[in-house]
């Protein structure tokens, strides 16, 4: 990738190494995300996609290398400081708090900057949540939990969203709704890094795809060249 691209990148990850407890799971991840892009991390189970997101957020056990956001080096920062720069995560297990109701879950992440979506807009994107505002987090369906997990990071003013497998285990109709939501968020100006197993879904929403294997980024495929690279991608993903 060109230096000009790197210089403009909103998020730039260089030689990122990460450890989960004793085990070394990231072995020098490099990639960039431009302002306003939707980028996916594709790869097999255990390739290091989720670990990469956790490491960017600062909540993997230990990390070294360089992660710059908006020009600021975050490698030595605590997760709460990284969050305050404008990065927000929607974790794979969704992280809905069972002891909190939908409203409380939604309002939990503190506002860190202006420019977040207001509640009206959030309920436009996720109409199901409006009817369930008083329901306990533990009483939601998988799809509702996923919507809530995305919804609550939209009102804080965070600008870079890290979404970890938002379609995992969900019914096709909900997967479509989440696809439409990601397209709408891109229009609103959010920058998104998406971890996906389902690359048909990934192809429908992303600008570029990074292929992760054994704790490294091994390839980058622009979405418009995806068809031409299908054989290569199949080989990477082992499908």
């Amino acid at each position: 990738m060109s230096d000009a691209q790197t210089a403009n990148a909103l998020l730039s990850v260089r030689d990122l190494n990460g450890w989960y407890g004793e085990s070394h799971v990231l072995h020098g991840v490099d990639f960039d995300v431009q302002e306003g892009e939707v980028v996916t991390l594709l790869g097999r189970n255990g390739a290091g996609k989720t670990s990469t997101l956790l490491a960017i957020m600062g909540i993997l056990g230990k990390r070294t290398g360089a992660v710059t956001y908006n020009g600021a080096e975050t490698i030595a920062m605590a997760p709460r400081q990284i969050a305050r720069l404008g990065i927000a995560i929607c974790p794979e297990e969704r992280g809905i708090f069972a002891a909190l109701n939908v409203d409380e879950n939604l309002m939990l992440p503190p506002r860190i900057a202006d420019g977040g979506l207001d509640l009206e807009r959030i309920f436009e994107l996720f109409p199901n949540l409006r009817e369930r505002r008083r329901s306990q987090g533990s009483k939601l369906s998988g799809g509702e939990q996923q919507m809530l997990a995305i919804a609550r990071i939209l009102r804080t003013g965070a600008h870079l969203l890290l979404l970890d497998e938002p379609t995992e285990g969900l019914a096709p109709v909900i997967v479509q709704q989440i696809g439409r939501t990601i397209a709408a968020l891109k229009k609103e100006g959010f920058t998104i890094v998406l971890v996906e197993q389902n690359f048909r879904f990934a192809a429908s929403v992303a600008d570029r795809h990074y292929v992760v294997d054994q704790g490294r980024v091994v390839d980058m495929i622009p979405n418009r060249e995806l068809d031409a690279n299908m054989d290569k991608l199949h080989a990477y993903l082992g499908v």
Binding site: E104, L108, P109
Partner: protein
């Protein structure tokens, strides 16, 4: 007057009142333990010693500084809370990644040190603390005599317990606390200062113990061992109620105080052990406690 199973109603009501007073202390103390355990994962064995400190701080404020009961009711919990925050920053914060057992051992040791220090300087005979003038005397209800101070203890503990419940269950700060109890890492990743939240929670839980200590000072004599005697029962209360639940620890506290009072009427020999018998039964039938969530 009617009699119930040969027990005069004055005796019955008197013991129930006494049970309710004890229950008030059980409730305030077990509430603090539950809040602390929920967020810090620490079984705070120093709770009894900090309760004793609350009573001593009130006594010291009066005898060394001439500060009376009402200001002490605010000041002593603040002082004990700040002391707790110092303990948390210097010692407890190093244990969060370890098993519960380490926190228990550390706080148990701290309790012994604090109690030992007070025993060394003030002896074990107990120091008197006068009931404030406004609460001296009592009401004659016709069927029994109700000392004003005892009524005040019950009211004050109810206000504090339900105020705490409201703060935790119904406010935004409480939502942070409940969320951080479930998943502190994620709450931190949203930009919340979780270490600060933990520090303030421990300070608050410990201040509750200090508050109970001030309430206790005029009833029980101010004595270095007052907390050690009480804390064992309070832990039984917590086990019966279940560690996880705020409302559970409050209700269980009052309920067991009343049970103890009733036992004192009908089978006085059993009053000292009835709570432990109930604890054994609850552990057999519902090991997570009456209000606890199975984990």
């Amino acid at each position: 007057m009617f009699e119930l199973l040969g027990i005069p109603p004055q005796a019955l009501l008197g013991q129930l009142l006494l049970g309710l007073i004890n229950g008030s202390f059980y409730a305030v103390l077990s509430l603090g333990l539950a809040v602390i355990f929920g967020l810090l994962n620490i079984i705070n064995f120093a709770h009894g010693a900090l309760y004793m400190m609350g009573a001593f701080v009130a006594w010291m404020l009066l005898n060394y500084a001439g500060i009376g009961y009402w200001p002490a009711l605010i000041l002593a919990p603040l002082i004990v809370g700040v002391f707790g925050i110092v303990l948390e920053r210097l010692l407890l914060s190093r244990l969060y990644h370890l098993d519960h057992l380490y926190g228990l051992l550390l706080t148990f040791g701290l309790a012994l040190i604090i109690q030992g220090l007070f025993r060394n300087y003030y002896g074990i005979s107990g120091l008197p603390y006068r009931i404030p003038d406004a609460l001296a005397g009592g009401y004659n209800l016709g069927f029994m005599f109700l000392p004003k101070y005892r009524a005040w203890v019950v009211v004050a503990s109810l206000v504090v317990c339900f105020g705490t419940w409201f703060m935790i269950e119904k406010t935004r700060l409480g939502a942070y606390l409940r969320a951080a109890t479930e998943n502190p890492v994620l709450v931190g990743a949203f930009g919340v200062n979780v270490p600060l939240l933990i520090m303030l929670t421990y300070g608050f839980g410990v201040a509750l113990a200090g508050f109970a200590g001030v309430l206790a000072a005029p009833i029980y004599s101010v004595n270095p061992n007052m907390g050690a005697d009480l804390i064992i029962v309070v832990f039984a209360v917590v086990v019966i109620g279940g560690m996880g639940s705020i409302m559970g620890s409050i209700l269980t506290g009052y309920f067991l105080g009343l049970i103890e009072g009733l036992t004192r009427v009908f089978y006085p020999e059993g009053s000292a052990v009835v709570i432990f018998v109930i604890m054994a039964l609850v552990l057999l039938v519902k090991p997570e406690g009456l209000f606890g969530r199975a984990t």
